[in-house]
Symmetry: C2
Subunit: 236 residues, 2 copies
């Protein structure tokens, strides 16, 4: 398998890519690549290049065709879980094709994460992109409160689903027919679920309430399950 | 939320349940339940009872109707991953309704797990059953080699899917129409995939090759994604 490396757009020039000392160390010392050997470079925004190592730079050989992205954008709005749960969610949901992560501080969120945490999350999504062979690094937005997050959405182009446990008569996510051409947003609650007030905010904003089934899912299971169900509906 | 406790069938008598010292300790010291307070007892095979605490026993008050199980049996045949990956798979896939776990020793499996490991896996599936509010504790079979596992299957009553990464022209799991009344089996490979020889064994045995999409999924993500896709198809 060819090694894949996400670089910053600023590193790209017309024919070459300037590699950072860290990247060079990894390519030469860890992977033991020699001059002339090839690997793949992505800018994380959709440009994928076959390159060869030439001393401290990479020479661009070929623009590769994108083929591993979903045809639709999937946004994941998720109540920040305790501990390292959000890191697991980023890893697995990047693999399943999520376009952007929107962490939410809910009524039950205790602590706002630091900038260091946000940087760490972005590093994880970059690494997961390399490993699962996607072309686009998902965006991770800074955590905000629910009303702010909702007011930032353009619900004219997004079909938004509020994912709940237990059906209580609401349709299963698997029954959804997602309108053509629209982006998809999945909102997943915290342990113990969204508060009644939060649910009302979602519904008043035009979210469709859907069920993920009759069992109680943990906060790390629910996002992955919901995104996989969308993959099944898209058949991608 | 009412506390749920899985007990051994041998603990059930006609009107009462004999509680073990560990169970009593948890109910009385950790949950601080008093005599007369109610909780739920399951035998893990489908019997769910509302009971009340009465000294060292539980008095059966009512037989509860089962409502959180899927309508179909889902069997998960999964190549044993490294480290504690299988524990994560048991936790999350129990939540998604899997009936039985069939760990497989593949050509790339280094170490056979000990009996202690198998006991630990069974404890995890029991706890996950309590927490996700299922009525049936999934069965965890001892790890065996692939040909043995396949020869133990009754493929007359099971629709079996070999889940692969990348489509290569094979249909996506989301496109599958699962025949009515049949049980479902999902086979998920090890890191690096099944060997060509193993794939041939599956296909010769009547497994349907399906794709989980165009991205590379880690061994802990793939089983969860595949089971969630089946949930979406079943709309349960």
């Amino acid at each position: 398998m060819t090694y894949r490396l996400v670089v910053d757009s600023a590193q790209l020039e017309e024919q070459i890519i300037n590699l950072s000392p860290d990247q060079l160390h990894y390519l030469k010392r860890v992977l033991r690549l020699q001059n002339g050997q090839t690997f793949i470079v992505l800018d994380g925004k959709g440009t994928t290049l076959l390159v060869s190592l030439e001393d401290k730079r990479a020479k661009i050989l070929e623009l590769l065709k994108q083929r591993n992205e979903l045809s639709r954008k999937i946004h994941l709005m998720v109540a920040l879980p305790k501990g390292s749960g959000f890191e697991d969610i980023i890893r697995s949901c990047t693999e399943l094709g999520v376009t952007s992560f929107m962490p939410i501080c809910t009524e039950r969120t205790l602590l706002l994460p630091s900038q260091g945490k946000l940087d760490r999350w972005r590093k994880i999504s970059k690494e997961a992109t390399e490993q699962c062979e996607r072309e686009i690094v998902p965006q991770i937005l800074p955590p905000v409160e629910l009303p702010v997050a909702i007011s930032n959405l353009d619900l004219e182009i997004i079909s938004a689903y509020l994912c709940l446990t237990r059906d209580n008569g609401i349709p299963h996510l698997g029954e959804s027919t997602i309108p053509q051409e629209r982006e998809i947003l999945l909102a997943i609650g915290p342990e113990g679920g969204w508060s009644q007030r939060e649910i009302e905010v979602f519904l008043a904003s035009g979210f469709n309430a859907v069920s993920l089934g009759n069992r109680i899912l943990r906060t790390v299971t629910a996002p992955l399950a919901a995104v996989a169900m969308i993959n099944a509906i898209l058949k991608e």
